[in-house]
Structure formats: structure tokens, C-alpha cells
Amino acid sequence: MCLKIAIRNVFRNKVRTIITLLAITFGCMSLILIGGFIHDALTTYRDSIIYSRLGHIQIAKKGFFKEGTIKPFDYMIDNPEELREALDSLDHIERITPRLQFVGLLSKGETTFPFLAEGIDPAGEKSLSSYIEFEKGENLSKGDNYTIILGKGLARAIGADVGDDMIILTNTIEGGMNALDVKVKGIFYTSSKEYDDHFLRIPVRTAQYLLQTEKVQKFIVILDKTANLKKVTNRLDDFFVKNNLPLEYKTWFDLAEFYNKLVAVYERQLKVINIIIYIIVILSISNTMSMAIFERTREIGTIMALGAKRHEVLFLFILEGAVLGAIGSLLGIGGGIFFAHLISWIGIPMPPGPGISVGWIGKIAVVPAVVCISFFLCMISAVISSFYPAFKASRLNVAEALRYV
């Protein structure tokens, strides 16, 4: 009955209610859309770093992650094939692929240029190369030897084209010099401009031959789902201990410094936007409730004369605020989900971010947690903002309220 009265009162002044509902609906919808957009942007970015470079987990010899950049060949995995076969049997692991990084000089005719090279297994790269695009030529494939692919920036710097013959010059792991003729098979770009400016990729067998070794520096592990990360790392902990392996791992999350900074920045922005939206919701509801209470002074006097207690009047008006908030946020959820789908269907063309060389298509994810939080916070705002007007109503002097025309 109280609820029935509250609902009827809410719709008493239709124009004012509609304006207030618009503010709440709009607020709740914005929360859902902005939250969903940021979630999608971060997921897209996360996947782009996982599937283009980092993988989900990287496994190396103990000490590599700390010292590897200074002494790249001091911490190598001794018998890579054995390890790979052992890891292959673990659940949720979709793919394991080696990495062997080294530096050297690349020359074509008169020009010579320093590079960073990544030795990879072309057969194992399938699910890792989803963010590698080719400007020209094609990717390395199974069985390729003495061929390389070049980052866009590196290729431009050295003036290389697909089909060119080049010479790679580098130190073997023992310290001697070694050189090799290779052919350019493709020119690629990724989401990271930095990578494209410095890196070339080479089949790991060729790299091992060049460096005179059987070893690799690390294995990159791709899982079936990013959500299974924790399960697999737990399994790995056991696995290393049980087999007494001198290995360690890092997850994509440990390695993606820039991603973590980006998340922090986005979260701060999101917080500011949320606060602004809550202020709008709170102001519009408290304004509406104040006006309603002002207009209904005599009615409040009447129900108090009839025996309504002060806290009952308080409750009545807070309930009205809550009803307003509930209707507004429910409409906001509906609108938010609708527009999230509509906008995702159309797609938002996004410019390349900092350190990223290609744009992407933004979508809006409907994140249940974001939807629930938006709904509850709008409801709480509604209750909070009707509290003060309702309190004023409950403190009215009955006789004076009844004199009010």
C-alpha cells in the first residue's frame, strides 16, 4: 500500500518526473556504456598484447627475468624439446612455442643497421600472430630456413623489400662472430610501433644455427582461455617442484607494465566520470523531492494530523525517491544494454593509442558487474538524495503545515 501510494505520487507531476527520470536513466546508462567501453578497450588491448607478443605465461630458467637483458645467453633452457613435451600434457595449455632473442647487424649492400631478433617456431606461432599484420609478403611458415620477416620501421630504415637478400651478423653464444645470408619473406606491423621499428623474426632453427646452440631462452605458453591463468600457474608451481626443474615463469600480467599503467589511468578517469554522474543524479532527485515536498506541505500536515509519525513521513518520501531511482535505473539498464549492442554492432573506429601503430574498432561490452554496480549506486544515490528533503518534511510543524495554502 505504501508502495502503491509512492508510485502514484511519483507520477503525479508527470513533466517533472519525466525530467528527473531522464536524468537518472541517462546517468545509469552512461555508467553502463562508459564502463562497458573501457572494459572492452582494455580487453582488446590485453588480448592484443597476449596474442601478439607476451602469450599468457612465459617460462625461463631461474634468473632469466632478472638478468636476461644483461646476459641473454647465461640463462638458457637446457633441453627445450624435453620440456616442451612434458608441458604439452598439462590441461588448458593450447600451445607452447620457443623464443630465442639476440642482437646483431643487418646489412643490405652498403647499408648496415642494428636489430633485435626473435627466433620463433613458425609452426607454433599460429595463435600468437593474430595481431601481426603483413604490409607485404607473408609470414614465416613451417619448414622455412634462412628466411626472415622484418618490422615495418626496420625495413624502411634499411630500405629492404620482400625478396631481398641480406646478411645477418652476430656473436655466437660462445662469443665468436657468425654471419648468414637470409631472404626477406615479409614486412609486418603489430600494435606496437616500437616493436616494428627494431625487430625482425627468424625461424628458431636458423637462429640456433647462427648462435651455435641447441638451447632457447624461454617458452611462451598460450592457454585456451585467459581466465584459466590461475589454474595453470598453480599446476606449473607443482610441476617445477615435483620434477626439480630450475625454472621460473611470469604471467602476461607481470610483464605488461604498460597495460597495468593504462588500467590505472582508465580507472582513475572512470572514477571521476562516475562521481560527476552520481552528482547529477543526486542533484536532480533532491531537487525534485524538495519541490514535491514544498508543494505537498498541507498534505503532509494532513497525514500527520491523521496520526502518521515523523519517521513514517520520512520513510514515505524516501520510498518515493527510491521508486524514482528504481524506475530510472531500470530504464537506464535497458537503454544501456540496448545501446551497448547497437554501438557494438556499428563499431567505433578508434585512432591508434600511444605506442600503437594501428587503429582498432571499439565496442561496448555488457559487463554484468558494471550493470549491477551502476544500478545499485544509482539506487543508493536516489535514497541518499531524498533523505534530506524527506527529513525536512518529517520535521514540519503540523499546525503550520495545515495553514499552508
Binding site: 502514484r8 498541507r298 498534505e299 500527520m304 494530523a305 491523521l306 509519525k309 495545515l402
Partner: protein
């Protein structure tokens, strides 16, 4: 032996408007016995509304004491006063003061919602009271769809529904035309005779004042004769 339901003793009521003090009532004493049908008469500003508000426990006297049904009300908390009003006092207002979002039926039902009463009982009670005031039709209509006389009948039914000892009516006929006003007053009188409910109403219409059993004349906050 007649029973006192209202005892007003040496009551003074001052209003403060900035620095000026308006003395609305001054050392006023009256007693009302159970079942009386009393009119409070007097010119505008003489203190009729103020007196009814004090008896109705919606305002406090500046000095003096008021007893309702042998309970001294001066020092009661606002919650206790609300309970007292809900159980012992019914109000009828000059401008009806029905709740606009509720139908006639629901307006009458409203005071019963807080009482422990099931839906059927409530419905029975509301229907009986509405019949009593001669309003069987139009009870599903909202107040703005009813005539003044019909609205005041709903208001009387609302005042009556919780079986109060006293019904207070501040100029119940002032917003009605003359003949409707007389009908309303006769209805109040009929209820008074049938159920023995005490009625205290104010008016400055000399033509309807004679329906009252007793007239209290106020002038400048004091009794006049």
C-alpha cells in the same frame, strides 16, 4: 454522570512573528462532555483554529494544560501524540484535505492501514462508514472528480472510520454552498446522535450555528458572552 472528554485549563497561546508577539488565546478554559455537539463561533482571527489545533494535539499551548479523555497531553512525545490522534481524534478540514492520489474509498481506508486489520475487515468497515455518510457511489473516483459536498462526505467518513471519541472540524462548511453546508452539518449531527461521537466545529456562519447543542463564543482569544 457526564464524562469530560476535553478539559482546557487556563490555556494561553502566543505566536511569535519576528519580534512581535501575537496572543491568539489568553487564559482560556473550557470543558467538553462526551457526546456533545459544540460550535465555536467568533470573528476572523479570534482564535478558533488555534483552539481546535490545541485540542487536536497538533500544536502546543504556551501555558496551561489540556486533557483529552483524562490524559494530560502537554508533555507527550510527538510519537505518543500521533498515536493519540490516530486513536481518539478525527479531523475534518475546511478545504477537505483529501489525499489526491487516492480514491474516495482509499482515502477512508488510509487511517486503518496502520491498524492490525485484515483486508476484508477493513473493506467492511470502510463500506459501512461510507454508507453512513450517504456515499455508496463514486467511491472509486479520485477527489478531483468529486463535488465539494461529496469530498466533505469522504472527509467525514475518513474522520469516522477509526471510531474516534472526538471529531474536530474547522469551518467544515466554509467551502460549500449554503444548502450543502447545512446537509453536511445535519449529517454530522446525525452521526453524533447515532454513535455518540463528540463533535467540535468552528464556523462564522450564523445560519448554521443553531444546529449546535452549545455555542462557545470567542473574541480576541477569550470567551465572550
Amino acid at each position: 454522570m457526564p464524562v469530560k472528554v476535553v478539559e482546557v485549563k487556563e490555556v494561553t497561546k502566543d505566536f511569535y512573528l519576528g519580534k512581535t508577539v501575537i496572543q491568539a488565546l489568553w487564559k482560556l478554559s473550557i470543558n467538553v462532555e462526551d457526546g456533545e455537539f459544540i460550535a465555536i463561533a467568533g470573528p476572523s482571527g479570534s482564535g478558533k483554529t488555534t483552539l481546535l489545533n490545541l485540542i487536536g494535539c497538533i500544536d502546543n499551548p504556551t501555558s496551561g494544560t489540556i486533557k483529552i479523555d483524562d490524559v494530560q497531553v502537554n508533555n507527550l512525545s510527538s510519537n505518543r501524540l500521533a498515536e493519540l490522534r490516530a486513536s481518539k481524534i478525527g479531523f475534518i478540514f475546511q478545504s477537505f484535505n483529501l489525499i489526491p492520489v487516492l480514491s474516495g474509498f482509499e482515502n477512508v481506508e488510509y487511517p486503518l492501514l496502520k491498524k492490525r486489520m485484515n483486508k476484508d475487515e477493513r473493506k467492511k468497515r470502510v463500506t459501512a462508514v461510507l454508507e453512513n455518510v450517504g456515499l455508496e457511489k463514486f467511491i472509486e473516483h479520485r477527489p478531483d472528480e468529486l463535488s465539494g459536498g461529496q469530498r466533505q462526505r469522504v472527509a467525514i467518513a475518513r474522520a469516522l472510520v477509526s471510531n474516534p471519541k472526538i471529531i474536530l472540524a474547522d469551518e467544515p462548511t466554509a467551502n460549500l454552498d449554503h444548502s450543502t453546508g447545512i446537509d453536511i452539518l445535519n449529517l454530522m449531527k446525525k452521526i453524533n446522535k447515532l454513535s455518540g461521537t463528540t463533535f467540535i466545529f468552528s464556523t462564522h456562519d450564523p445560519k448554521i450555528i443553531n444546529i449546535a447543542d452549545r455555542i462557545i463564543n470567542l473574541f480576541d482569544g477569550q470567551l465572550s458572552k
